[in-house]
Symmetry: C2
Subunit: 291 residues, 2 copies
């Protein structure tokens, strides 16, 4: 892994009263934190000769393809027909077998499972695996080592792998503010229900935060250690992307800017002198959309 | 100033054999290192009530406007008619008086000097000032503190302020590789001639590296401490921008990617185990051009 850089912002930056520490995890291998979880699984697991399979057209697919190639395992990535050709090309360049299977994610998932059952390949799940959660948590450990004593971590939630891992690292030592798009309220609904439930998802950040159900393993950490679960609108996410670019020259994808959106929109308002860390967790998008 | 982050890249990253340390100075206030020099001058000088004037439509203008506003001085920025409206708007939002004066940079410069003579305002030069060179050099000091023992620094040269400041900081303690676009060979020609001379400039990075003559103050440092002065093509600069984005999700302007282009194009080839630092020094451009 790369140790991704940390950027300390002075009070007043981005129009916020307090100081802020950004963890720039979008500069990780394959452009998001997902590489941490992929390596965590592949280094701990007994990988069969048939290699690994995963269903994803997004950041997790890039991470699995990269980690498998680095470690010398064959990788088959099952994607729905809706996946952009540029992403498929990037997966192929990374050395993965890319299988276009069905119209929707669920079709790709079913085909991936069929392949795993037939070939004996190891199926990787994007977030519902303790090794994946632990891997994503290393991002929190790194930040904690560089900036000890942060009071609060603001983290985006899709399936919960990153936020669950970071919550598990900090435990009760810091406040965990989980942030979701209003149109992907997977954790918010789970907290209301007292357990993960399936929700409808959509909107601007659904490509990376659009898991329809919190994973059981992330839930074990999130339900214990998340202090605030806040929701942000798609417009707030777009505004956070625009301001990251206009004021800092950081080009973050929608899901990568969602945690910052919680602060910029006032969904979470830190106290005076609260030391806040924010995860900028991905950059896989078309930067032309910032213009 | 912000302490800008450092990113360590593993051998193999960006297709290079060796490890590399990037200093991400594009995340500085106003999107480039120029804010360092602007604050250096304004904090050291006796600024008259009439404030400051500068001629620039680019990164230096943004830096002067920002530093003057932060320190409570009026600032008048003289720009040629060719300046993009978006840049003028950004200057005005920063609180500066923006004066469009003449078709070319030299016209804007003449108008700025006239204003300074008439009003008593302090005229700032973008690079030919020992305080500006010293200010830009703080970027080298910061990097040296975070990553002691770098063997080589690769730095882009326009008027020479940044590279001169960094050369003055490291002196004989590191190899200084100055990088210019082939179409802006201002330092290369000065080294051939033994003194700064006027050259024709143009091409992809001319907006930030297009000074026509090395400043006398930067020259005092560059002529003493630069070990290699290399040239890169516009295509090599575009390729460096593309790869910074495709592989690292860093969106750098042409001048900001020029130093990396020296390594990617083979204009400078480090030895085995040479520890190389590269300045990524600006990000003020349209990121849509990366698509």
């Amino acid at each position: 892994m790369r140790e991704t850089p940390v950027l300390d912002l002075e009070p007043g930056a981005l129009g916020l009263d307090g100081a802020l520490t950004l963890k720039l995890e979008l500069f990780q291998h394959t452009g998001s934190f997902k590489a941490r979880g992929a390596f965590s699984v592949l280094l701990a697991a007994e990988v069969p000769a048939a290699g690994v399979v995963a269903a994803s057209g997004g950041n997790f697919a890039l991470a699995v393809a990269h980690a498998a190639a680095e470690l010398g395992h064959p990788a088959a990535i099952f994607v729905p027909e809706s996946s952009p050709p540029a992403k498929l090309e990037r997966l192929r360049r990374g050395g993965a077998e890319v299988v276009v299977a069905g119209a929707f994610y669920d079709d790709a998932l079913a085909a991936a499972r069929e392949r795993a059952a037939a070939s004996g390949a190891l199926e990787l799940h994007a977030f519902d695996d303790p090794l994946v959660v632990a891997g994503q948590g290393t991002c929190g450990r790194e930040l904690d080592r560089r900036r000890a004593g942060l009071d609060t971590l603001v983290v985006a939630v899709g399936g919960g792998g990153l936020c669950g891992g970071i919550a598990a690292w900090y435990g009760n030592e810091a406040r965990i503010v989980a942030t979701e798009p209003r149109r992907c309220p997977t954790l918010a609904r789970a907290l209301e229900a007292g357990a993960p439930i399936e929700v409808e998802v959509g909107g601007h950040a659904a490509d990376s935060l659009g898991a329809r159900r919190i994973g059981e393993h992330p839930w074990a950490a999130l339900s214990r250690w998340v202090d605030d679960a806040v929701l942000v609108t798609d417009d707030a996410i777009r505004d956070a992307q625009r301001r990251l670019w206009a004021e800092l020259r950081i080009a973050a994808e929608p899901g990568g800017a969602a945690a910052l959106a919680a602060l910029l929109s006032g969904a979470y308002v830190p106290g005076r002198d609260e030391r806040v860390g924010v995860l900028i967790c991905g950059g896989n998008f078309d930067p032309g959309s910032l213009a």
